[in-house]
Symmetry: C2
Subunit: 231 residues, 2 copies
DNA sequence: CGGTGTGAAAACTTTCACAGCA
DNA sequence: TGCTGTGAAAGTTTTCACACCG
């Protein structure tokens, strides 16, 4: 499940194996540095960039140092240079092509997200199995039949799954067969896929349940007078 | 940012401080064990439950052992008992009240999610600032003005932010002032909030960018003939 | 001078392997 | 016997603190 691939070969250059934890923070840095660059500020310190990204300055410096030296001592990081480095490293210099499976409310909402292009992603197709939806428009796209997915396999790198839990495994199977390299799964189901396909899970209820746990901490006990059970 | 609270007092019982990593896996176990229970299977081994939850058996056993002994040696875990333990531990035995801020496409789609009740969550309100949307219905709820949020403060534990990035900080501020305990933020902005409020970020583009990175690994090098640089 | 880059230490997480119990 | 619960080992991530350089 979600094994880390170890070859790490991009454009022929073999890189130090960068941990997934680090990779998952890079998009945040990218977004933050773009926001800062948009204000006209040309350089930024690790302290400032870290604060705005919600991480510690030392972790930010460690993370960025793994992409090669990218800052200037005594000055900070050049916003445009850093943004370019991050985009290249993440493979966003050439647009990644994304398809959404599921043209219901959630799928349509995600398809609507205006930031795709700006963030190096291109929405190329939307699929559904519902005859009612096939042929309708979502933004500039027309909903295709999921059965036609194989025909698109050359034009899809990543898939967003926005279908009911029951439909997810079969749809994922089709995506895998079509050769997609990653699946972002909004259905509340653990999907299994071969090691060549990365699956990330986003589950509304699970996230809220974690928050629910923390929301119950530190509140007045409902049942005072009870005491510590230890084994 | 997102400091771990340390008091950990639930219903008067002081617990071992359970790491966030562990907490974030519990909802998955809960969902998996409920699915298994629904098939009529009464007990489950750590090996089986782990495989279906996408984790290793040892990590599953370690995680569950932190909730107190919950299995039976030689047998496995009782599905109904384990589900009850997890629900209680996560604080889901009494429904957590959730509000959605943002009645656009995404907010409506999330409000529509059928699993709330079953998963210990109750959607109590939907807010927006757009006069056009206020007063319209989403499912059984009527969209309220965000300005009325303070009046609801007693009825909201958690908030889901589904507004454009530009509107997120102000909306989060209102939620914090109303005393919510957690925010699940779908806007692509890092929100800062006091330590008493936990903020989790879910960003479509960031998730896809991480997948994009991995999708570029192990593909045929664009620039073959280059060889391994090792330090 | 000021802020990055980085070893070394500390903290945390996962895996291993097996004791112990139903 | 079979599978949980758990110490101890291995591995990973974060923090610290400071050398180094523009």
């Amino acid at each position: 499940m979600g094994e880390i691939l170890s070859a790490n070969r991009i454009e022929g250059v073999v890189r130090k194996d960068v941990p997934e934890r680090v990779i998952s923070r890079l998009p945040i840095y990218l977004q933050t540095v773009e926001t800062i660059a948009a204000t006209g500020q040309d350089t930024v310190s690790s302290e400032d960039l870290a604060a705005r990204s919600g991480v510690s300055p030392s972790i930010l410096r460690k993370d960025l140092s793994q992409l090669g030296r990218s800052g200037t001592r005594g000055v900070g990081y050049s916003c445009p240079e850093l943004a370019a480095t991050l985009r290249t490293f993440l493979g966003l210099d050439r647009d990644r092509r994304v398809a959404i499976i599921g043209a219901g409310r959630l799928g349509s909402a995600l398809a609507d997200y205006a930031g795709f292009r700006r963030r190096g992603l291109r929405l190329t197709a939307v699929f559904d199995i519902d005859e009612e939806k096939i042929g309708t428009s979502i933004g500039a796209l027309t909903v295709s039949s999921l059965d036609d997915l194989p025909a698109w396999s050359e034009d899809i790198d990543l898939v967003v799954m926005a279908v009911p839990a029951a439909a997810a495994p079969a749809a994922a199977q089709k995506a895998v067969e079509a050769g997609v390299r990653g699946i972002l799964n909004f259905s509340p189901t653990v999907l299994d896929a071969p090691d060549t396909v990365r699956v990330h899970q986003v589950d509304l209820a699970s996230e809220l349940q974690v928050l629910a746990y923390y929301s119950a901490l530190d509140t007045a006990p409902l049942n005072p007078g009870f005491e510590e059970h230890r084994n």
